[in-house]
């Protein structure tokens, strides 16, 4: 049984806490949050506190707070000879103020509303001592089927790639939805295509899955499309079209 203390009350902390409370290999000893109101839901489930100096003894301390607060929380945590990890995609492991440190990065986008199936979430782990990497992998494997050893530099790149395929992709969905709205087209018409596009790259490399006017240099269609867009959308259309054309010219 791995004893953990979770620090934080945001989306990641919330989902992770709920998941670990149901995990038979893990004992959630306590949850800390600076704002006690946000963790009142833990009443009758586990101990919780808003005072860092009251934090109990555990095997792993999981700091799931905002990126900017990670170093501060870790430095105020008066814990000796215990593993302290954070859950951030973009903060280096060494930003933690602790002798034994590591990272437990869950590569998924969390929102409080929707339930998350943790067993399929890729977990990227890292630690500065081999024994701690083993301890962390035991914890990670009790949560998910997909566990990866990813160092701080790789994790920074992975976080960047995640911004591209999640945040930027979602913004393109917003633009698609805007075009539909302006022409009285229900956005739901596009949803099967959106899902198919996402599923396709689990079987095909995205380079091989590319289709469309930019790839086949269909300038007539491209010109017509540009004429239909707002200034801001035109800039995005032109740049992505240029980038696709360049990508495939190089390959030919």
């Amino acid at each position: 049984m791995i004893k953990v203390v979770i620090l934080g009350g945001g989306n990641v902390a919330y989902h992770l806490t709920n998941n670990l409370l149901d995990n038979k290999d893990v004992d959630v000893v306590q949850v800390y949050n600076r704002n006690i109101v946000d963790i009142q839901y833990l009443k009758n489930k586990t101990l919780f506190t808003d005072t860092l100096s009251d934090v109990k003894e555990a095997d792993i301390y999981i700091i799931a707070v905002s990126d900017k607060a990670i170093t501060e929380v870790s430095s105020k945590l008066k814990i000796k000879n215990k593993l302290v990890v954070h859950t951030s995609g973009s903060v280096a492991m060494d930003d933690l103020q602790s002798d034994r440190k590591g990272v437990l990065y869950l590569l998924q986008s969390f929102s409080k509303e929707s339930k998350v199936d943790f067993s399929n979430i890729p977990i990227c782990i890292e630690a500065n001592h081999d024994n701690d990497l083993i301890l962390l992998s035991t914890l990670a494997e009790s949560i998910s089927k997909s566990v990866y050893f990813i160092d701080s530099n790789q994790r920074k790149s992975l976080h960047l790639a995640a911004v591209v395929v999640n945040n930027f992709v979602n913004h393109l969905y917003t633009i698609g939805s805007d075009i539909c709205d302006k022409n009285n087209i229900p956005f739901e018409i596009l949803q099967p295509l959106i899902l198919e596009t996402a599923k396709k790259i689990t079987k095909l490399h995205p380079l091989d899955a590319q289709t469309g006017p930019a790839k086949r240099n269909d300038n007539e269609t491209i010109e017509k499309h540009i004429a239909m867009l707002t200034n801001n959308q035109q800039e995005i259309y032109k740049l992505l079209t240029k980038s696709i054309a360049t990508t495939y010219d190089k390959k030919l």
Copy 2:
């Protein structure tokens, strides 16, 4: 039983022909393609020809050829008083040379390798006579559960929106994959996030699903990300970040 002749041998024609051959409400009388080799697979399944003047009598002629060839094929088709439709997202219905004309646009990305479940593909239909719209909707509803009446102007916008949420999104997947490759990270780590991002907008408007450094004005992370990218990727990162920031400033 609706009698159809399909004209074309590309991806759309191939999948549509196979689907309609299994459709109990439809009789595929014949398939035409200018290159007979591409439709040899129809031997023992239905009639096929590479000569437009040999085309048989049917209720609906479905022209599923490349955008540029649609007008030419329709003008060479010596058919009187029959419904002629094309399957293109970006060509106007009036580009067909026929008295009775229409459009049967299947909003999905087709590749010959992967099988397609037609019952979930949105079909957008249009016709210049009310009776033909009814005939076309009977055909469309025998293929799919999702049938929409979409006129030529709306269809042009829909095709543009499809380019944004399919072609451009796939290019962002390519960039994500490139970042992973350069840092020895398996791209499969990103696949659950990609699928979750696509599924999320079936429940949430993409405007409400947006997260990430651009939305929360996290300039520190944005600067770090830009430093890690190639010149071309930097341009795309900056433009999409600016566009997201502008979108949410306006809303606040």
